[in-house]
Symmetry: C2
Subunit: 331 residues, 2 copies
């Protein structure tokens, strides 16, 4: 009567991937977020200072979706010394009609990685020049890899560059990704050179001081900033945000608190000049207005995206019989 | 390497029950809450007005506990028309050293029922007269039953009375509980009579208007108010709260927002007269000072209790090999 499906990371990697259907599932939620449809409470955070850790909880109810995802993300930064990854977590999905638990997704952060990468592709789809073919990736971790792959869903990419704080990480990224994406990926030691030669730049770092500033901008550039999702993080200088033709973000509320908007507002940026990606997708606000414009999209990540990717994963898993079903109520 | 244990309601009923060890696990957290030890963020709520539902999330990190529970409670009030219970939910437990998920507890609210009942017993243990032997229960649902049972852990109860809005529910409660507890339980149609003849009164209703007022009080009475856990609920009149000798609550912050303190403060009650149960347990504040005093304890329920009961359940389940273990990381 009350069945819960348990899905492991392996099941979820079978169920959803970096594909167009997944991209469109993510794209569809931005207009809902911007319209204020459904209910998306602020992120809940449990600090565990004793162990240099924190747990963040995101959730959203979206009208028309059969599931409500509750995502728990754990970041415990002493883990690498124990041979464990710093980041982890899981999602649970509840039936939006009855509130009954439907699924536990032990994804170890895979669904977040996926929906974050797809969000970058959605941003580029709506904001980057149509003829963008050179990508610059800042950072060389898991999300950097996924961002580059995801961009190939929406633009004909012919070349990529990568910069990372550690040069050896950038070299490894270039080697691996060249094989994977089927075009040249080069490591560079100069961030200004990377930006100069790219049509689309994606920043994916945990930086706490700006990496990119206004002096690096050039005509036609699009930048997607993925890294900043906490009060102390930032990747773009305030003068860069002030200088671009269009500043877009997934959620003004979140960008103001956790994203690039925070420092820009302090420096005098006018909040009413910030546009949400949902408004651009819905056609309610212009994004890029010509090929010379410089655009930025700041993505902090929303519970709505979690609900979208988790709903898709649960539907696919059920259709394909993935995972293990439990009867949770005693007979 | 990264194993998660899945426990169903049946497993959890095997693991933890209304016992003294469980009671002491719950009791131990109140002083931590009052001391501000650990981290207990405000309750997160996702409203689902389309389906007359809401999801509440509670959590707490407590120093010295190996697990951090994240509890998701669902209340969907059109469910009974579908033959489903209104209330449900689950808990997840994360390792407090590494943040890794350790357990998913598909308890359908059992652990919440249990820790709430035990909290009532803890309140009576510290606030009711030692010779209290007559209990009055207001409400006749699951929590009403558990409260009566839990009180037998801490006081020699010889008699109980029950009042409910629906007389037939009270009659059914009296019949069933007389058999279960081994002493007489009588249904009454008069709430003033119930209070008049009781040493301990426990209110367990979803009332939105006061059921008990100052005129009903008598020397030596202790009242535990369980029902109010939301902005629109209340069981005690403001004049009752003003009239008692000691007003205790599990969390002043929560009682002010969700509990009985809210209306009392509006009516002029001095917040500095509210004492937390943790301070009474720790001996930092007096509870009842003599046998004539009238005491009240308002319990809104805290994430700390969830962490305490879930930690105990997970330890017991692991020791006894209950549930199903999943390897969540791909090999």
């Amino acid at each position: 009567m009350s069945t819960v499906r348990v899905l492991t990371e392996a099941d979820l990697r079978d169920a959803v991937e970096l594909g167009m259907e997944e991209l469109e599932a993510i794209e569809a939620v931005y207009p809902l977020v911007t319209a204020g449809a459904g209910s998306m409470p602020p992120i809940m955070r449990i600090d565990v200072p004793e162990n240099n850790g924190e747990i963040d909880i995101k959730s959203a109810f979206l009208p028309g979706y059969s599931g409500i995802a509750v995502k728990v993300s754990a970041g415990f930064f002493d883990n690498p010394a124990r041979g464990l990854p710093s980041l982890g977590g899981l999602m649970m999905v509840f039936d939006s009609e009855t509130g009954l638990p439907r699924s536990a997704l032990f994804d170890n952060g895979y669904l977040t990685d996926l929906r974050t990468a797809l969000a970058g592709a959605v941003a580029a789809r709506h904001l980057a020049r149509r003829d963008s073919d050179v990508v610059g990736i800042v950072g060389a971790g898991v999300q950097a890899r996924l961002q580059l792959q995801a961009l190939t869903l929406v633009r004909e990419i012919s070349e990529a560059r990568v910069w990372a704080r550690r040069g050896d990480s950038a070299m490894a990224f270039a080697d691996e990704m060249s094989d994977l994406v089927g075009f040249g990926v080069q490591a560079t030691e100069s961030l200004p050179t990377l930006v100069e030669s790219s049509d689309i730049v994606v920043t994916t770092t945990p930086a706490t001081e700006p990496l990119l500033d206004a002096a690096m901008l050039h005509s036609g550039l699009h930048i997607t900033a993925i890294g900043s999702d906490a009060e102390h993080k930032r990747e773009l200088s305030a003068d860069l945000v002030m200088a671009v033709d269009r500043f877009v973000c997934d959620s003004v509320t979140q960008s103001r608190r956790l994203g690039e908007l925070r420092s820009a507002l302090e420096a005098g940026f006018d909040e009413s000049d910030a546009v949400e990606l949902g408004a651009v997708i819905a056609g309610d606000a212009p994004g890029r207005r010509n090929d010379d414009h410089v655009t930025v999209c700041d993505l902090t990540g929303t519970g709505a995206q979690d609900t979208a990717i988790a709903s898709l994963a649960v539907e696919r898993a059920a259709a394909r019989g993935l995972g293990t079903a439990f009867e949770t109520r005693p007979m």
